[in-house]
Subunit: 294 residues, 2 copies
């Protein structure tokens, strides 16, 4: 049994999707959910997504085998500190945070033997937020990056791996720092760029939005995501995001220099096209030999 | 009748989609297609997409009421010059080019009374190219921007408008310069950004592509488009693209400055989020009062 008793902290898009996925795929598991608001608790109980729900953290986590923190990064530390004294021996804690170095650094020390923290980043979600958009198949065919450290036991790593695999994810491992560097480039930088592009058009020629086509729509979809959550993510990964902005400005200057030279411009675009076509054809998960390559 | 005899110059994604759309929606129209390669001619004749096809330009256009140039921008002028002496009086010529000032400037003088050129930019397409991806519904619910000039007659403008409307487009009018400025921001700049982002990641941390999720996939989809075609488009709209790059770098510097300030960063992201959510809910066509607003 991966877990008999699961506690989910936070019933947002990810937390509610985990509840639904576990309900569907591991029906014997008892699911308890912590929510900040009493109204959310009543909703959870009403629609059967959880067996128990409460605004009292201790009540939700006290008999859990596995706790998944599904709150914005900025809210994690206080909640983790609030639950640390109330876990049963052997309880494993994980999270869904999009930044791992800061999260692992602040959370891991709170959960020491006989409890343990293993960082997770399920790369699933959408620009929508809230339980209303939750989906039991949200994690299917998605990549989940585990960021264990030397302090983790093989048993805990295996349990968290099996948990995400049960939900349909393919799991890979990276160090927290390697995770943040990579995800800074492929997730946080694209988010900031999409927002920046919209703001640049708004400043430069807002009437241009009237002739927007699917290109702009697709390339800025992610910018519709929740601003407070993304502000927290970008700040928690500030150094890598800064590095990404600098890399981007440097390449934009290169593009600007070659704009008048058809052959060089075509080669610049062809390089990107080939990269993009390879992305398209590959699954979002590294294959065996490249997993844990960092 | 919008046209009894239609000539399509170039059987790529757009040309072949126009042929299929006209076949489906205006079955009485005789469709002739010019292709550069004899093999493409045989294919067109074989699959019934055209009533006639040839590598001889004069043969294809000589009895047409309407000619649609569906070739890359760089190839337009020579083809237009090659057909200009072979049109029947009253023939209207239009195109599908993504840049309008340069195209209208070089093509309009070739088609004088009793023929006439009206520039069109159907904002439809995909990252795929070639007749194999053609679709009779490609233009449905898309925006088509007409860029008539003072030299155009109301009759020609009306005929080209009705043609695109027949294919399912909603038609608006802008000046060629206003078109290029607006489309530079909402189409050409996003394309260059997507390519630049992929190249920046490739330079900075190519292994990061291993953990790419749907965010990067969506935001760079357009970069998979044909490099030679896009190099031609970006160069033909060079000044506006340059302006877009500068606007983008300026906003990236702003984002960089506020990255450490949670409130300002959140407000930056929230502004973009609100713009994006409005884009999502609106059709791609301006409403009556804002049409022809430039």
């Amino acid at each position: 049994m991966i877990c008999d008793r699961l506690a989910i902290i936070g019933p947002g898009l990810l937390g509610a999707s985990i509840a639904k996925a576990v309900r569907a795929r591991l029906p014997g598991t008892r699911i308890s959910v912590w929510a900040r608001r009493e109204a959310a608790v009543q909703e959870l109980l009403g629609d059967g997504a959880a067996d128990a729900a409460s605004t009292e953290l201790a009540e939700v986590v006290s008999d859990a085998d596995l706790v998944v923190l599904c709150v914005p990064i900025g809210a994690m530390r206080d909640l983790a500190a609030g639950m640390a004294g109330n876990l049963k021996p052997g309880c494993i804690v994980t999270d869904v945070g999009s930044v791992k170095a800061a999260v692992c650094e602040s959370l891991a020390p709170l959960f020491t033997h006989p409890t343990e923290f293993v960082g997770s980043h399920p790369m699933a979600g959408s620009e929508e937020s809230g339980a209303a958009y939750s989906d039991p198949d949200l994690f299917r065919d998605s990549l989940c990056i585990l960021t264990p450290t030397g302090a983790n036991t093989p048993k805990a790593i295996q349990q968290v791996t099996q948990f995400w695999e049960l939900l349909g994810s393919r799991v890979t491992q990276m160090s927290p720092d390697a995770h943040d560097a990579a995800v800074g480039f492929v997730s946080h930088l694209p988010h900031l760029l999409a927002a920046t592009l919209l703001n640049a058009i708004q400043s430069g020629d807002p009437a241009a939005f009237d002739v927007c086509g699917n290109g702009l729509r697709d390339s800025t979809r992610i910018a519709a995501g929740p601003a407070p959550m993304w502000a927290g993510i970008l700040r928690a990964n500030e150094n890598n995001v800064r590095r990404g902005i600098e890399a981007m400005i440097e390449k934009l200057r290169e593009a600007e220099r070659i704009l008048h030279n058809e052959a060089e411009l075509e080669s610049f675009l062809a390089t990107a096209r080939d990269i993009r076509r390879r992305l398209k054809n590959k699954t979002s998960c590294p294959t065996g030999e490249s997993a844990a390559h960092h």
